[in-house]
Structure formats: structure tokens, C-alpha cells
Symmetry: C2
Subunit: 249 residues, 2 copies
DNA sequence: TCAAAAGTGTTGTTCATACACCCATGG
DNA sequence: CCATGGGTGTATGAACAACACTTTTGA
């Protein structure tokens, strides 16, 4: 009982502290989220870039992104980083909330080198995502950007800020992830053939893979229940191929 | 030439914009770095915690860390995130700059859930590090903390803020890293036996490893030149064992 | 129009590697 | 008791070979 009262006193002191607390005048950075969205277009791995309509770097291409909405209001401190990333995804790509919400965003890391934004100190939290090629054509410029377009990774224009660095790190992130988890399934349509999935892997890794070996790994995943055969087949360059589907857990 | 002039005009416009720019009144979050420092003490994987001397969470244990020093001054926007992490490492552990500078800090990610700090909106960038057990005893409370001590991972006290989450993610980060890179060498003294390194791996993974298999992997690394035999041997519980050293690249 | 050639996916084999599991030895 | 050192079987991936089916090419 004594212990409980002591605890309550502690809590009271903490409560009193919080109610009297006024955020100090220590300088704070702005915080943004930047998105690296990959897709496959015309058998090329591409990423979404937007053209900046305002200074700084006006006219330059940049990763989509924007400021995280925050507040010191104790009851509503604003949106989370993940929410901010999803909001920017929807805003800058024009995808509706339902589709944007289904996209799996993964945090790549925080980038905060001084001077990366000439206006002021900005710390950016980068996210990456893989967008189904069936959704990619729906993307259009939205928000406060001039234009939005998919750029093949080997035809990138000069990028604003340190976005080239962020893009490199995001690509490394996706490559590392691909070795251990089946996220590549987000880069193919709902149903796909073995060869189609192999092509996507080849694009991400940047090198060709042995069709036979890939097939074996693929069929092993079918036995494990990660993949399942879907109805129908598809006409390909050679033999008609069966189509498969990713089994959602 | 015309092109060059146009380009200069663009640059001029950008320059003019920057000189006229005044950071807006958009609310900004505070940004901190938090450190998850692992070491091995008495054959137990442990992490460094500090006791908070001030509200909020006064008296609670927390990860060492602090605010990133930033500024909107265009000539000096303050320290980088990595620098902030190293500075906090030195400040809160009392390690001298030379030793603290040698510690390899890796970014784990950004944590920015609203409400994680009851005072105000705070976004934290977490770093993790492995500290040589020979350095661990030198650590003492520094900076504005009550006390600092090493806690075994299975005897953690309740932590302030969302630091329990951050710690979990940092541990997962280290485990994932350990499978592909030899950072475990930072958790043993300069020279070590095969069994000692295996023990460290077992501690990090939380499960015992086959001595024979580990030995084979170890000797393979010796052949690759990642490790080399050091002079002397060490008396162990059983047979005297040779000692090895990590080859710095 | 038909047949050969080229392209591509499929199926099977070989080889080397790495790990899991087991066991005898010796300090 | 436990690290050492060795052994075997298995799973996996790399590289390669033979084959099936389709499309293209050219007589």
C-alpha cells in the first residue's frame, strides 16, 4: 500500500510536470518522408520521380515525398511516419486510398546530413515500395508537383537533394530483402508464370538467372505452400505455361 | 551558350530564392538519437541503460541518447545524425573520444509514433553498436543521467518511452547482420579462441551451436584471410586452445 | 506450303559446398 | 566434462546437357 501511494505520487509529479511543460526553444529540424517506388515497365525496373515545381531545385526531378505533419498537442501529436508515407504515396501518385493502403511500404532509413536541403535543416525518412505493374499506369502527377513519370533505373536524370543516395540505398534494401523474402511477388500481376517471376528477379539483381535452377526453387516454394497453381495457362514465346498465384498468409 | 546563360539564370533564381527564404512556421518535431549498445558481460548479452534524472519517466531506465543539434543557418546546419550518435555515445558512457570514435554505430531506423514522448512530438533515430567486453567496464554514468549500468537482456527493467520496441528491433538488426558479416568480432577481445567466438554467437542467437560445425566455418574464414592465428595459446576448461585475431582490412 | 533453324521453357544430371547430426579422442 | 577433429548424409546452388514446343526463316 505504501508502495502504491509512492507510485501514485510519482505519477502525480509526472502529470504535474507534463501539464506545466512548454516545449523549449531548442532549434528543431524539419522532417520529411521520401518514397522510392519501384515497378517494372516494359521489362525494365523503374522508379517514380516527380518534377519539382518550386525552389529549391525547381525543375529538377526528385523522389516523391513531403513533410511529416506533427504537433506538440499532447492529445494529437500528428501522424506517424508510416502514415505520412502512405499519405504522400496517395497524394503524389493519385492512387485512391484503398489501393495506396495496400501497398507495402518499408522504411529504408533516416537521412540527415547537414546541408542536404539548402533552405533549412531537413531530416528525411526514406521508404521504399514495390508497385504492381498493373497499378503503375494509373499513377499521375498529383499534389504540388509539375509532373510525375517512371524512370528506368539506368536512365535516371540528375536528382535533387541527396535523392540519388537515397535511391541507391533503397535499391540495396530491396535486393537484400528479395533474397530472404518473397516480396518480388509484388512486382508481378496477381497471377504469373515461372518465367515472368524469373524475369523480375533478373531485373532487380541486374543479371540473368539459370532458368532450370530458378524453376527448381520456384517449385520448392509451391511444395511449401508459398505459391499455388492458378487456373488457366498463358501463351508464351514457346510452350504454353501454367500460371501461379502467391498464397496470402 | 544560350543554354549556359539560361542555366545561370536558373541558378540565379535559385540563389535569390534561397537568400529570401525564411523557414516557415510549420510545426516541427524534435529529433533525437537513441543508442542500443550491446556487450557481453559474464557470458551474458547485455545492453547499456541509463536512469533518467528528469521528467518525463523520471527514475525509469532508458536507452542512452539525446537531441540532435540542428540549425537553419545555411552555413552550418549542425551535426549529422551519425555525428550526433557518436557524440551521445561519448557523453553518456564517459568513453574518451578516441575509443568512442572507433565504435562502429549502425543505424537501425527511425521511430516516430505520435505519443511516444508525452511532452512533445519527438522522432528518434536509433543506432546500435557492439562494444568490446574489454571496454565495457570503463563505462560510467555521464552527462545528465543519474546512473548507467549494463542490463542482461533477459533481466530488463521496464523502459521509458518506446525503448523496449527500439531494443527489440536493434537486437533483430544485430542478429540479421551477424549472419552475413563478421561484426561479432567486435564482441570479443582482440584475440580469442574458437570457443569464445562461438559462445558469443550462441548468446546473440539465443541458442547453442554445434561446436564441430562452428569450427569448420571458423577455419574456413581463416583460409579466406578474414582471421589469422595469433601468437600463444589459452588454457581453457579442457584442451589448450589456439587464439586468433580478426584481420583488419 | 513445308521443312529446317532458332529461340525458349522444361527436365534431368553432375559437381561442389555447407550444414545437421553423430561419434571417438585426449587434455 | 568439453573442445577437438573426423565422418556421413542431406539440402542447396552452379553449370551443363537433352528435350519439347513454338515461331521464324527460307527454299
Amino acid at each position: 500500500m505504501v508502495k502504491k501511494r509512492a507510485r501514485e505520487t510519482d505519477d502525480d509529479a509526472e502529470q504535474a510536470f507534463l501539464e506545466g511543460y512548454r516545449p523549449g526553444a531548442f532549434p528543431r529540424p524539419s522532417v520529411t518522408v521520401d518514397l522510392v517506388i519501384f515497378t517494372v515497365r516494359d521489362r525494365v525496373l523503374s522508379t517514380l520521380l516527380v518534377r519539382r515545381g518550386e525552389h529549391p531545385f525547381k525543375g529538377r526531378w526528385a523522389l516523391p515525398g513531403g513533410f511529416v505533419r506533427v504537433s506538440d498537442d499532447r492529445l494529437d501529436q500528428g501522424e506517424s511516419l508510416d502514415d505520412a508515407a502512405h499519405r504522400e504515396l496517395a497524394e503524389e501518385t493519385g492512387l485512391d486510398a484503398e489501393r495506396a493502403g495496400k501497398v507495402r511500404l518499408e522504411q529504408v532509413g533516416a537521412f540527415g546530413a547537414p546541408g542536404r536541403d539548402p533552405r533549412m535543416r531537413v531530416i528525411s525518412v526514406a521508404y521504399c515500395a514495390l508497385l504492381r505493374p498493373t497499378l503503375a499506369p494509373l499513377v499521375r502527377a498529383g499534389g504540388d508537383v509539375d509532373a510525375a513519370r517512371w524512370y528506368p533505373l539506368d536512365e535516371l536524370p540528375p536528382l535533387a537533394f541527396d535523392h540519388a543516395t537515397i535511391l541507391d540505398r533503397a535499391l540495396a534494401h530491396v535486393r537484400a530483402r528479395l533474397e530472404s523474402s518473397p516480396i518480388a511477388f509484388e512486382l508481378v500481376p496477381e497471377t504469373f508464370t515461372i518465367a515472368e517471376l524469373r524475369t523480375v528477379h533478373e531485373l532487380v539483381y541486374g543479371q540473368s538467372l539459370d532458368p532450370g535452377n530458378f524453376r527448381k526453387r520456384f517449385l520448392r516454394m509451391v511444395e511449401e505452400g508459398v505459391l499455388e497453381k492458378a487456373r488457366g495457362s498463358r501463351a508464351t514465346a514457346s510452350k504454353p505455361a501454367s500460371v501461379y498465384r502467391f498464397v496470402r498468409t
